[in-house]
Structures are given as C-alpha cells and as structure tokens.
Symmetry: C2
C-alpha cells in the first residue's frame, strides 16, 4: 500500500541574475506572495489600498524547497519501492528539480503532476521554481496581460477584484511511497438507457508499472460498485499481468476496461429534483492474491443534456430567416429543469488558501438559497477537488468554464498547446463528477470587449477536447450564446429604467448574468476602510480601492445618487447601507421571479455574482467575503422556492394618482403535482386592502399558473407600501413585495407664472 | 511506374433470397439504376411523371462484376509487383469481393478505396455488391429516410428534385499495377506569414511499402515546387528507406514530411481579386537512383479567414446582451472580399454521369456571372475531383458542406462512425485545393424543420475533424448561422410584399440563400411535359411532377397568379414564361445589388440556386438543366459587376400619382481605386427625362458611394417604365431597371351608390 509524506517547505525569491538569499517558511498549499509578504511584514493587502504594496511580487521568481532523507521515505520498504512526488498543480510557470536536476517544467496551474523520483541520495532537496506571472508584453496593467496564457484573468484586476496576482504551490503536494504498483481511475462513464432503467457503464483503470507474475501468479485488478449503505452490487475482476497499452502517459492510457450493467440504478439528481445519489466505486489491485493498492471514489448515474427551449423553434418567423437560438434548457435524467443559481467567483484572492471548509460554508449558502446550479466563471480558477466533491454530495449542478474571460485569446501554437494540456487535465478530473453539467469555453468571448468569434482555434480546440473526453456532457463556446443574456448590472440604468422595467421587456432563453449591487455591511466596511474615511463615502478614499467608486462607471456599485433618489439623502452610513441592500434584495428577487415567469422559453437565471474574493465596499455579490450573507440572499431564497405566489409589476416606485397593478402568478419548479390553492392579494399601505382572491388550479410538475391582474390607485401616504400574497393552506408559499411611493405636492409658481398652479412630484 | 487498367463491367440485380439472374452491360462511373433501366427499357424518368416507374430500384441489391486474367495485369512484371483496385467511392452500402472472398465492406459514397488484390488466380472476378438505398424505418417516403446516413438527402425528393435515388459505382474505378512502391500526397499546408511575404509550407507524403535498400542503396523521396511556367523554385529530397510510421492506414500516416520556405509566393486569389495562381508540386520516389513513381498536382498559397463583419461588434446594444453575430466576412489574403455567388446543387440526378466537361460548362457560367464563390449545398453530393480542380483554376471559392440537410441527424454511434469516416475522406481530399474556403456542417440544421442544435454530436464531431485535419480553413456548423439569412424564395410573398420591400427591410451579415422563381423556357418544357398538357399549366398534369405546382406551397415556383397580377392574364405559354422570367431577372438583380449596398455589415450574397439536376418546369435556378442560362443570369451578371451604378427603390409596381423615388449608388467590389465619375439618371416612360446628374467621388478599393435620391411623379402611361443610369466615361458601369405601372381609371358606381365616383386601380 502506498503511503504519503509531507515535509515542511521554505521559500525564497529573487530577480535574475541574482540568486535566492534569505529563506522563509512556506505554507503548502498556499501562495508564494503570502509567505513572502508575511516574512517581510508587508501590510494587510485587504486594508485600504495597501494591495498596491504587493505589486512588485508579480515580477520576482520564487523558489520553494523541501528537504528529506532517503530513509524518511524508504526505510523498511522492499526492493523496487518507488517514490513519486505528486502535486495538484503549480501556479503558473514552473520547474521542478530534484537535487539540482530538472525533472519537469511547464506552464499552467491546472495540470496535476506525478513525478517519479529516481536516484535518491541520502539527503535530498526538491525545489520548485515559480517564474514571474505571465504578462503579454506591451499591454496595460489589466486583464489583457493574461490574454495569451491560461492564468485566470481576474487577478489582473476586475471591477470587484483587486490587482493582486497569486502564484506558487496552490494545491496539495506530497511524496508518495509505492512499494507495489498503484492504481488510477481514468474514467467512469455512466451510460444510461433511453428510459434510464439500465446503466451500461464502463470503468477505465491504469496502474503505474507491469505487475509481477507469470502463468501461475498473475496480478488482478478488481472493481466493485457499492451502494451508499456499503453493499456491493457489482463486482468484476480481470487479470492484470499484461502491460499492453501501458506507457501511453501517466493517467492517459487504459490498462483495464470494465463494462458493467446495473438495472434500475439510483440516479443522481440536483437536490431540488431528487436525491443526489452517489455510489462508491472501489478499485483494488492484487498480486498473488494479496491486495497491493486500493482506491475508492464516489460516482453517480445521471444524464444531462442541453435541449432547445420550448417555443424557440417558432423563431425566426419571417424571411430572411436566421437560425433558431441556441438551446440551453437543461434536461436532467429526462426532465426539464429550470436552472436557478449564481455565478461563482474565486472565494479568495489567493485560491491556494481555499479549504474544504470554506467551500462547504459557501455551498451550503447556495443550496440554502434554493439554487440548483453554480456557474464557475471563466475569469477565475477551476476549483479544487473538494469543491466538486461537495457539489456531487449536495446535488448542485456545475457549469464549468475554462480559464478564458473578456480577452481575445490568440490562435498561436504556444498558447493553444498550453490550453490543450490544461483543458485535458481539467476535463479528465471533472468528468468523474456527476455534478459536472456543462463545459463552457469562457466568459463573454463573443462580445466586442473580447473580440473572439466562432473561428477561434482556442474555442474550437476546447470543443474538440470536451467531445473526445466527455461527449456525454454539453459544451458551449461561451456565455452568452445566441438568445442568452448578460446584464443588466444595476438597479436603475442610465436611461432611468429600473431593473423591473428592463426585465419585463427582456426575452432571453437564459439570464446567465444579472446584477444588482449593494454596499457591504458596516462590519465589513470597518475592516477595510480607515475610520475617518467611512463617512461620507468619497471617490478620493479607500472606498475606491474596494470598488465603491470608479469600478466600471463612476458610482456603479455604490450608487449613492440612485439611493438618494429613492430614499432621500442618507445622512449616515447605516441608512445608506440599509437602503442599498433593500434595493438589491427587491431587485434580485424580481429578476429571479420574472425569469421563472418566462419559463419555458426561459430556462435559467444566474445572478452576478454569488460571492467575492475579498471584502468589497460595494458589489453585486449576495455573500460578502468570506461567507457572510447580504439581506438579498434571503430575498433570493424566497424567489427561488420551488413553489411560490409571485407578482409581476411594472416598476419599483409609484406616484400618487397612478394606477398600480400587478399580475398574480403561482410559480412552480417542483417535480411534484401541486394541488389547487387559493391566493389572496393584500395591499398594505398602512391599512390592509384585499385586492383579489385567486383560485389557482392544480398544477403539473414544473408548470406555472398566471392569475388575475390586481389594481390599486396609489394614494398619498408613507414612502413604502407592500403587496402581500397569502396562499391558503400553504403559508410558506406566500410572498411579500415592497414599493416606494412618491407623493404629489402642490407648488405655487413664482411671479413669472403667477396664478398658475403646477403639480410636481416630491419624495 | 504504376499502370492503370480498366475492364468492362456487367451488372445484375436481385432481391434476397433470390440471386442474380440476368447480367447487363454497366457503365462505370455511372449509376446502377441507369444500367438496369436501360437494359429493361424503363421509360425516360425525366419525361412527365415517369420517374415513379423507377422507384422499385431503390430496394433491390445490385452486383457489379468485372473479370480479368492475371496475365492481363502481371504479364512481364517483376517479382513482387502488387495489384490494387482503386475506386473514388461506392454509393452507398457496399461490399467488394475478389473471387468470392470479401475484401472490404462499408457504408458511404465519399471514401475512396484502395484495396490490394492478393492471391490472384489465372482468371479472376471482382464483384461489387451495392445494397438497397438506406431508409430510416418508419419514415414517410421523403428526405427523413436519409436522416441516419451520409447519403445525400436530395435524392429522396425535394421541391425541385424528383424522388429518384441513385447508387452504384459513381466515381472512377481501376486496377493499378505497381511493380514498385507508389507515393501518395497526404497534405500540403501553405503556411503564410502574417504579411503574406513568406510561405513556410509543409508537404506530407506516404508510400505503400518499405523501400528496398540498405546502407548503400537507400530509397529517396523528392519534392519539387514548380511555377506555372515549369521552372522549379524549390527542390528537396530525403532518404526513404525507413518504414517508421508506416502502417498507420492507407493514406493516413506520414512517412516523410518536407518543410519548405518560399519568399514572395504568388498567391491564389478569387478571379475577381487577382490571379488564382497555382504551383505544380511534383513528388518522386527513387530507388537506387532510379525513379519508380511520380505524382504531380497543383497547389496554391492563400489564407482564408472568416472575420467579424464591420459594425457587428456594436451589437447588441442594450441589456440583457446576447452575443454578437457570427462573423462571416471572408478575408482572402488579408483583404475583405464581398462574396457574390450561388448555391450549387447536383447537376445531375445521377451524379455518376457527371464529367469534367459538364462541370466546366456550368462553372464557366458562374464565373461569367461575376460570381466568386459557390456554396456546395449539403443536400447534394460532395463533387468529384474535376469540380475542385476547375474551381482552383478558375479562381472560384468553394463553400463545402458535408452531406447533412434539413434532417435531425442522430447522436447514434453507428451514424457518427460512418459520418466520421466520410468526413475524414472528404477533408483529406479537398484540403489540398486552394479553392476550399469554408467547411460547413450542412444545410439549415439549426432551424425547426431540421431540429438539430449546438449540442449535436454529428456537428461537434465535424468541427473537431476539420480542426484536426484542416485548421487553416474556417468552419461553420450550418447555414444560416446567427445573423445570416435564408430566404425569401418568391417574388412576392403571402403578405403582398415584393422581394424589393423584403430586402430593403432585411439586415443580415450574409444572404446565403434567396430565391426568385421562374418557369423554364419553352424548349425545356416541351421536353418534359406532354404537348397536350403544356397549355394551360394545371396541377393535374406533368407540370406538377416537374415542380410547377405543389412544390412547397401550391404555386410557389410557377406563380401564375402573381404573374397575372403584374402582367394581366397570360393567354399563351410564351407570355407566361416571358413574364415570369422578367420577374426573376428583376428580382435577383435587386437582391444582389441591395446586399452589396448593405456592405460592409453584409458580406455575402448567394442566390438559391444556380443550377438544377433535371429539367424543372419552374424553379429558382439561374441555369436550366443541363446548362442553359435563364435570362436572370444575364441580369445577375450585371448586378455582380465589380463596379456599377445602382438604384435602391421601394418596390416593383407603382401607381399613377405616386411619387416614385430611387437612391443612386455606385457599388464597388473591385480591388482597385475607382476614379471620380458622373452618373446620370434618366427616367424613360416613352420619353426620357433627366432626373439628376451625380458627381460620384473617387472610391477606395471595395468601398461603395451613396448618391442623391431622385424622384418622379408617376403619370399615366404604358405598363412599363425604366430607370437608366449612365456613367460618363465608363459605359459598362451603367444599369437599367424596369418598373410596372398601374394606371388609375374612373369607375362609375351602380345604383346603390349613385352620384358617387370612386377612383379604382386598374392594370
């Protein structure tokens, strides 16, 4: 059996032709910058604008080293025992050397390394050199510097991410002692019959060297599938003496393929559609009847398709006709599923510090918000294994992008070769996860600010790699594709339309990014902005470094002028935050519900964005760094309930004398039959008025119902009025909406317009 | 040196469990149906509706056989001489046997066969069995029967193609005697530098067996590039004794790769942009200093890209934003080229009868019409080599589709494997032609009547194959893609809009199908319709079998009611034809010119369709079967001149009292600077009126100019008036447009509306 060993690491940095001088303790996994920053006492990069003091670390070379004695690993081990150094990936350009001899060098953080260490000495040093972060020459200090590499572009600066670029040993690294051959699972393909009643699956396995043996003493490889409760339901083994096919690259070839059949498999479902059932796949390698290696991992049976959205084939209707829109309706195990979710960004500026615990904390918030999908946005990293294990377990679909975003990635051979290596490693790793629901080339690549198009060799290559390695999972070249929409990103746009008006006019197959910003809560702000700059927020202060100002448009995320227009001038920070967070909650709630009303033509709603990599002063996120929900998360949780009473209305603010109206809906994404219910609509502007009761008929699974439009003449009163929808016998399907009211006041004109009385609006 | 031999063929047919009985002479290349039909005296399938008497031939099995004596091939040949049977492809499911032993069997007509014949007897029989045409079970007798095969769907019946399905030995077949090894060219990649000044090309060559030799007697392979006038400008050779890499499949591996550099290569251009320059690539194989094989073929240096159309990045403008449209602007050798051309369909119902002569006759008409591109539509065949050689020579770009059209081709492994084999063969053959400008998955696959979408494994696979084998040529999954338009297909639509109105409102990046129908000329009609059915055309007659009626909509192609509305009731066939052909000419002329006015956002105009596979009674074709131009071809030739004066106007028919108007343009697709000219606009309704003179400024290459709008109050007069545009000093840039006039007449109402005079329209 293999054993794993980890020794402590040190780190140094230098700029050639200099050499490493001082060595500091290093944390692995982690980030070279954090180790050196800590050693040198650099200031907290998350406070005020201190991140800029870390900028010089982009351009130095780091060296990690770890020392070990041969006996630390091999004492007591039999002859022929092998030692390997393994690592989940090195960020970004790297070289690995043992005792001064380079073992391998490369580019790209997503390729796991398995290096056999031969010729060990009594005392050994393994060194990992990490070169300066990649930057395309001649570009400004922005994301375009990442446009010829697979380095996630977000670290080069985004409108909610600081310019702060990590590198180094960002994933686990260990020494593996192998007295005997060891196994690796190459692929598990859960081939389901059309009616899902039979799984004809395959299991592909490799091992790392020819097994000892002969006619009478063969090795055997064995594969077993166990139910969650541990019972083996399938068991197969085959002779493993042959080394035919071996040597086609670590983890690339197939030494043994098992083909199994399972009747009535329990299926993996997104959590809101069923149980995300996982089986245990157990692989063992036996030599002369003795088990020498064992691997266990979870696998699932599911079929995920993207199909054409209902109604989309009816378009276009007139000549000349272009094509119909790209189908983006998820169908999971034969059932159309409305995808409710969010855009997942790096939860840390330094992703090397990410732990399973942090992943779980965030993913639990996502599941708690009734999300069934996360889009892992192409500007960020491909996550560590723990993320995908958790999504498997929690029944969250994963839309996985490759690391391309908002750049024009070139048709150059060197870049294409790096991308191919990285993509190969990414697909081979994530295809084993039943939660992997969609491959996507990257973010907004077919829009002007990226400038790529359908002929991009990078995207064509990604399509070919996904087809070759994971043909059962859909692929899209980018988001948005034809018919899909990104935006809006504000509560009210420059034309004065609020997000309700924009969404009512929109007609997309999927809203895969839409944002409503808000300021962060006081505690977060106090942690990043000097006390004397907290109030009032000004563009000349630390508010700007944390994206309160001058991110995208001057006041996009903090939007003090919008808040003031709706709520009047805020005279303290708490009021500003409360107002901004109210807008965010009402705005997000509406978008999710409106997208659901547009079902089945619309099939997806993913807000921009879920989380954030550092504490932002203001952002579209639902969850503040590191994992603190904003009030909007609760509103979104309400909007994404499987079944709820919902209202469609024109806008957020109404003026006295206007005829307010709202359509009543019952939204149903549930896989169950829904009984007939009665919905009562109450208007509360201090006193409650019953506007209508609606006997909503029973509903088939996944089908919405549209009810009556209710009306109410807006009368003068307080700044807020509310609509309450109560569902008889299903209290938790009820909903509540908030509106702002503008009262009219009589204004007496001055001398120029004597005797003329005008009606003016006032807050 | 190899020698080729052809022996006569016989054919028989049977239905298992029967066996072949009678044998008839067979023509190879040809079609099994034609041989048997001739032998049995079946009636001419092109006359009236007699094609239906050929229908039973779909479901029989054919056997071709050819006999030869070993001495016919091998007498006098040295020991070790090999005999191969080669064939361009067998349509569609087939098996090849020598003396009763099956050598190979397969499916698909586009895969060339090279079969080594071993163990020859004194007397030998080679048999080719051709199985019944593929039909998906349970489908009606229409194109959907072809939806799980690579059989071109058009033969199953289309609205301009009879149901008449060919099969058999449709391309050349011969015996090849090889006393020595023979060569094959695998690939020639013309890698051009960014500025096109340097070609770094590669030449990949295989030979069919290890060469004899040793240290002192090696084989050599030699490659030479010659200019058109014969001078060698590059010459390289290398040892060829090694058989490393051999055996990776006939024509698939690479035994030798040459890398060459050529400075200032002469480029291959579409004929309207420059010279379609071709070099001779000469390959020889030498053993012990003696040449044993030689291959010569033409190659060209060009770079073809599809880039985003000018203006397309400005869209979409509002949130939510979807992607920008698919870029479809051809850029040839760095220059944006407006693609003017046509949809090429099978020129024969039985493509096996196609000759280089027929191809040339038709392609000369295309070049003569000022077309620079042909779209080889996916409903039909991939053409024989002669077609592509001619396109290379004549400077015609080829948009090449795979054989998928208007069906939902499945994600099934058997179909995908057949498609992959066929596509591999197609791409390997056509990538050697510089005229191959675009790969396309097939016709209208992303529209409702096909029902495929971006996740189709067939289309993803085609993209991957094209990327792997021919990455330098663009790929589109289908036509239309986003932003591209198909249609309209009539002069006047059901809403009463004529094609001028439709096109003026359209805004596409490319019009890749648009049709205006007309009846065929009298001589054609007399050849296909019984004399007593010629007049009047009725749906109950042979007019219908030849698509005059009930193709698509009841009267779509013949449109007698539209003709009658514009021209009055026709009282004889000649008048009907003349009127219909006038509408076609005026309609097509306008679409090409309007598409050119929409440049640069629009980059392409391809009418539906160029030719036809049999004599149609009425069709959108510009050329009647077999190669007779309709009058519209001359009008299109005028519309596609590199430079012309052009007019934009609202509609074809004007009523007395209306204010007629037209915008004046100078359209310029030429690669040259255009001098300033003066354009005079004359209105001729019996007398000539000068409406305006426009001093058009000098124009840069490829740039249009928009001039003044001229106006004229329509007065009563004859049924026709014309606009003449004359260009001072460039008479051949002048244009003339025809309009129909409706006069108003006073109608006295009857008793019910006494004393009331109404104005009515009359023809």
């Amino acid at each position: 059996m293999r054993t794993n060993h980890r020794f402590s690491w040190e780190i140094s940095y230098f700029t050639p032709p200099e050499h490493p001088k001082a060595w500091y303790p290093a944390t692995v996994p982690g980030a070279a910058q954090l180790d050196v920053g800590k050693a040198l006492g650099l200031p907290d990069p998350y406070f005020a604008d201190q991140a800029k003091e870390w900028a010089w670390l982009e351009d130095v070379t780091f060296v990690y080293r770890t020392g070990f004695r041969r006996d630390d690993l091999l004492a007591g081990q039999p002859e022929g025992t092998q030692v390997w150094w393994r690592c989940g990936g090195i960020d970004y350009r790297w070289s690995v050397a043992l005792n001064g001899q380079v073992l391998e060098q490369g580019e790209g953080m997503f390729r796991p390394l398995s290096l056999r260490l031969e010729h060990l000495q009594d005392d050994n040093v393994l060194e990992v050199t990490v070169f300066p972060v990649p930057k395309v020459a001649g570009r400004p200090n922005d994301r375009s510097q990442a446009s010829a590499s697979t380095k996630p572009a977000v670290s080069y600066g985004w409108d909610w991410h600081p310019r702060l670029i990590p590198s180094g040993l960002w994933d686990d690294a260990w020494f593996e002692v192998r007295p005997q051959p060891v196994l690796e699972l190459v692929n598990f393909e859960p081939g389901l019959s059309a009616d899902l009643s039979v799984a004809r699956f395959t299991v592909d396995v490799v091992w790392d060297r020819p097994l000892p043996g002969g006619i009478h003493q063969e090795g055997r490889v064995r594969a077993r599938l166990r139910e969650a409760k541990g019972e083996a339901i399938w068991d197969a083994s085959q002779a493993a003496a042959s080394d035919a096919g071996f040597g086609s690259g670590a983890g690339k070839g197939t030494n043994a393929r098992f083909a199994g059949t399972l009747h009535n498999p329990q299926l993996w479902w997104p959590h809101d559609q069923g149980t995300p059932y996982l089986y245990q796949l157990e692989l063992t390698l036996e030599v002369a009847g003795r088990e020498v290696d064992r691997l266990v991992r979870t696998v699932g049976f599911r079929r995920i398709r993207l199909v054409t959205n209902e109604g989309a084939w009816n378009e276009p209707a007139i000549f000349p006709k272009t094509r119909s829109v790209t189908g983006v309706q998820f169908e999971v195990n034969g059932r159309g599923v409305f995808a409710k979710g969010t855009n997942w960004v790096n939860p840390e500026v330094f992703p090397g510090t990410l732990t399973a615990g942090r992943y779980e904390e965030l993913l639990d918030l996502a599941v708690g918000a009734n999300f069934n999908i996360v889009r892992v946005w192409g500007g960020g990293i491909v996550n560590k294994e723990a993320f995908h294990d958790l999504c498997d377990q929690k029944g969250l679909l994963v839309w996985q992008e490759f690391p391309l975003a908002c750049n024009n990635y070139p048709d150059e051979p060197a870049y294409l070769a790096t991308l191919a290596r990285e993509a190969d490693a990414i697909v081979r790793r994530l295809r084993l996860h039943p939660s992997t629901a969609l491959w996507c080339g990257g973010n907004e690549l077919f829009n002007s600010w990226s400038g790529m198009d359908d002929q991009s060799l990078a995207l064509r290559q990604l399509g070919a790699i996904c087809l070759a390695l994971d043909p059962g999972t859909p692929f899209l070249p980018t988001s948005p594709v034809m018919g899909m929409g990104h935006g809006p990103y504000v509560f009210r746009d420059d034309a004065g339309q609020d997000v309700f008006e924009v969404m009512n006019k929109a007609r997309c197959t999927a809203y895969t990014e839409f944002g409503v910003p808000s300021p962060s809560s006081v505690a977060v702000l106090q942690g990043i902005i000097p006390a004397d700059e907290l109030w009032p927020p000004l563009p000349t202060t630390a508010w700007t470094a944390h994206h309160g100002f001058d991110s995208w448009q001057p006041t996009t995320w903090l939007m003090p002028e919008v808040i003031a227009d709706y709520f009047g001038p805020a005279d303290n920070l708490a009021l500003l935050i409360d107002a901004g967070q109210t807008l965010q909650a009402e705005g997000y709630r509406y978008v999710y519900e409106e997208a659901r009303r547009q079902k089945p033509y619309c099939s997806m709603a993913l807000n921009w964005c879920f989380n954030e990599p550092w504490p932002c002063a203001a952002n579209n996120s639902l969850v503040m760094y590191p994992a603190q929900p904003k009030p909007a998360l609760a509103a979104v949780r309400q909007a994404c309930r499987p079944v709820l009473a919902s209202a469609r209305y024109a806008k957020f603010r109404w003026t006295e004398g206007e005829l307010w109206e709202a359509e009543l809906w019952l939204l149903n994404d549930s896989p169950f039959d829904i009984p007939a219910v009665t919905v009562s609509a109450w208007l509360d502007d201090g006193e409650r008025t019953l506007l209508a009761t609606w006997p909503c008929p029973a509903l088939a699974p996944g089908v919405n119902a549209a009810g009556p439009t209710v009306r109410w003449p807006v009368r003068s009163g307080g700044p807020v009025f509310r609509l309450m929808l109560e569902v008889d016998g299903a209290a938790d399907w009820g909903s509540e909406y908030q509106f702002r009211r503008r009262n009219l006041v009589k204004v007496q004109e001055g001398t120029a317009r004597m005797n003329q009385t005008e009606t003016r609006e006032a807050l």
